[in-house]
Amino acid sequence: MVPAAAPDLELTVAVTLTAGALAASVLLLATIAALRLERRWRLWRLGHREPAWLEVLHRAATEPAAARLAPIGAFDLPAFLRLWNRVYGSASEEEAPRLAQLLRGHGLHDRALRMLGRRTLGPRLIAITTLGHLREERAWAALEDIARQAGPVVSFAAARALLRIDARRALESLGPAIAHREDWPLARLGSVLHELGPTVVTPALLTLMASRPREGLERIVKLARFGQRSRVAPVVRGWLSSSEDPLVIVASLDYVEQAEDLPWVRSAARHDDWRVRMAGARALGRAGDRGELELLLDLLRDPVWWVRYHAAQALVRLQGLTEEELEALRHGARDAYAADMLAQALAERPRR
């Protein structure tokens, strides 16, 4: 027997849940309406201010004396700084200091410093980026603290700002983090170093490379490409003979251009790791001559497609080999894979 109250209970539960769901829906709809109204008002306000700000920023970049910036209220500050960063990001070398002067002249650098302490992520990130662009030394300690934090987005933004303020000092301070912090993507680090330019980056990179950390050396070797090649190449090539990490060897092989490194390259071309063999094949193509023919023909029969591909490319660019000799090698290849790959490399040659 079912207790008499059972159906009622079920009905009560259903009705209560329905009422609760409808009430929550109405609440969410009201929130949507409120958010939309707030956004509309914000966009309207911004739509009125942004054209004037843009005009001032463009004037400040070209005729700084004529630029007059109306006072910026606390509410508008993040939006104005966001716009300033956007304009600054595409400014020329001449214009950038003038834009920085506009902020300093109106005390906005001090207000950006105070914004660093904000808890809201958006304004905080804008403040960090602004202070980096301004190369604001007074923000150094605060930015260093932020860069040591766990969150990848804010910590990396702070690291980027530090690098902009003083690349050498920042690389000394952040060196271990650059090597270890996998949540700081190489692509993003690379874009910052690229932005700073090889002249600024090279001394600090050399210091970092000289420290030769046990962990993360591979990351440093990869970043070395943003330094001046003539200065970093000897250091990186030196690791060819002293490192056993395949990824470090692969990165080092990219710096091989001279015949004196060929003994290491030949050893790499016989490495167990296919990535090392592939990089070895590429290096043989750059630095070798017809003396490397036998080794490259061996690599042309490698079980890994990519090794065969780069061996074929290396053969085609190898100094001293004529077109006829290459065709003869292709026709004489007993391995079908090797012949196909050489045919492809020969066909690709005029396309470059």
Partner: protein, 453 residues
């Protein structure tokens, strides 16, 4: 008998609550990630600087009888904003002039490429390079279906990441940059899915969505609300737990070496894309490797939703069959444990695979009780009201997330239309789709082979 009826009633009640609370919880999980993303957006306004470390991507387009559209689709892909990518069109044994259209548009020439056959696929007839675009190649092969064509594309691809996409998809210019971001930020990433939005009603020019608007067709409108609820934010919710099981076949990026290790796309299944993601989870968990599957919520990919009932029905039956096959073939995910094994997999089995059957059974059961006089009209109406109100709450919660994040529909009237659609959706559309999904489930249970075009 009464106890049994009461138990069944409670079961259905509980099912409806859980079936809606689950996606609500996913929306809640997605919310912090969306808010964080919105906060970071000001920095994305700054001009992008490419470092040279961005992994190059092979875009794979499987084309079968696409004579009229393929050239335009490829042209818009070639205009994507990304440092290094190649486009590989796989002409999957088209019977029409697809290959001729490509040859004419892109000055193709046969090329003696040493084909690397890492994955099984139907024989390749000829490989073509484009004389006008150095990063375009065409693989002409025997017909084998979409999964087979993608495997052939993987074989021909040269880059470490590949992007599987639908030739009908419209991608935003920054789509590749956005969907590759997880690979830069997290070296353990093996796959990332892009959000697929509905293009009906939008203005597309030069291969780009230039104006977002709501469609006039009610069926397309219903699918917009449905997609917001079922995939856009739910995907992000699952991603916060590294438990994404579905990446749309229209736009997803994968690490090639991992996919090759897992065996590539499975042919002869209606849901090869989902099956691949499920298999990646299964294989990588079995190996005990750290990996992650991400979901990018930004609106990067747009497709036309069907506007006829027949096309929609065929699509939903196919999706359901694909889902069931993918789950069935990768049962071992459950044994692998973790969030994906003990939460996502059972959730998909209960609520996505068998859910439509339970839902329809509940309606039928309650109606039968009412018709036979075992319950009065009040509990029956209360049950229907509960199903409606929970569904509506879920739809409204996704509209709130949309408001917090992307604002694709900025006008008040558009929100009004979406809210009205969210109400209407519960009055027949959801039940109709559930019925089609049950048909898909039945076809799968009966072992009907899925067409894989």
């Amino acid at each position: 008998m009464s106890i049994l009826v009461a138990c069944v009633e409670w079961f259905f009640l509980l099912y409806f609550v859980l079936a809606n609370l689950g996606p609500l919880a996913l929306n809640l999980l997605a919310m912090p990630a969306l808010i964080r993303r919105t906060a970071v957006r000001p920095l994305e306004d700054l001009p992008p600087v490419h470092s040279g470390f961005e992994p190059p991507v092979s875009l794979l387009v499987a084309a079968h009888d696409e004579e009229g559209t393929i050239a335009g689709a490829v042209r818009s892909l070639l205009g994507l904003d990304y440092p290094q990518f190649e486009v590989i069109v796989v002409n999957d044994g088209s019977a029409d002039g697809t290959l001729a259209a490509l040859q004419e548009a892109f000055a193709l020439e046969a090329f003696p490429e040493a084909h690397w056959r890492r994955l099984d696929a139907q024989p390749v007839r000829t490989l073509y390079h484009s004389r006008s675009h150095a990063n375009l190649r065409v693989v002409d092969k025997e017909h084998g279906g979409k999964a087979d064509a993608l495997n052939a594309g993987i074989n021909a691809s040269r880059y470490p990441l590949f992007c599987a996409m639908d030739p009908y998809a419209v991608l935003s210019r920054d789509s590749l940059r956005r969907v590759v971001e997880p690979f830069l930020d997290d070296p353990a990433t093996v796959a990332a899915g892009g959000t697929v939005r509905i293009a009906n009603g939008c203005t597309v020019s030069d291969g780009q969505v230039v104006r977002v608007a709501l469609p006039a067709h009610p069926l397309a409108l219903l699918q917009i609300v449905e997609a917001l609820r079922a995939s856009v934010f739910a995907g992000l919710g699952w991603a916060t737990m590294n438990a994404v099981l579905v990446i749309s076949g229209a736009f997803g990026v994968f690490r090639k070496d991992r996919v090759v290790e897992a065996g590539g796309y499975r042919t002869g299944t209606a849901g090869a894309d989902m099956e691949l993601v499920a298999r990646l989870h299964r294989v990588l968990r079995a190996k005990g490797e750290r990996y992650s599957v991400h979901f990018v919520p930004d609106p990067v990919c747009w497709i036309e939703a069907p506007e006829s009932l027949a096309a929609l029905k065929a699509q939903r039956i196919g999706w359901q069959r694909g889902l069931c096959e993918a789950l069935e073939r990768n049962r071992a995910i459950f044994r692998g444990g973790g969030t994906v094994g003990w939460l996502a997999y059972p959730y998909f089995v209960v609520f996505e695979c068998y859910g439509p059957l339970i839902e329809l059974a509940a309606y039928a059961f309650m109606a039968a009780l009412w018709i036979t006089g075992q319950i009065s009209g009040t509990p029956f109406v209360a049950f229907l009201a509960l199903a409606f109100s929970l569904g509506f709450l879920l739809s409204v919660s996704t509209l709130l997330l949309e408001e917090l994040s992307f604002h694709l529909y900025p006008r008040f009237s558009q929100v009004g239309v979406l809210v009205a659609t969210a109400i209407a959706e519960n009055l027949g559309y959801r039940q109709m789709v559930a019925l089609w999904r049950v048909l898909g489930l039945v076809q799968w249970l009966r072992g009907t082979r899925a067409p894989d075009r």
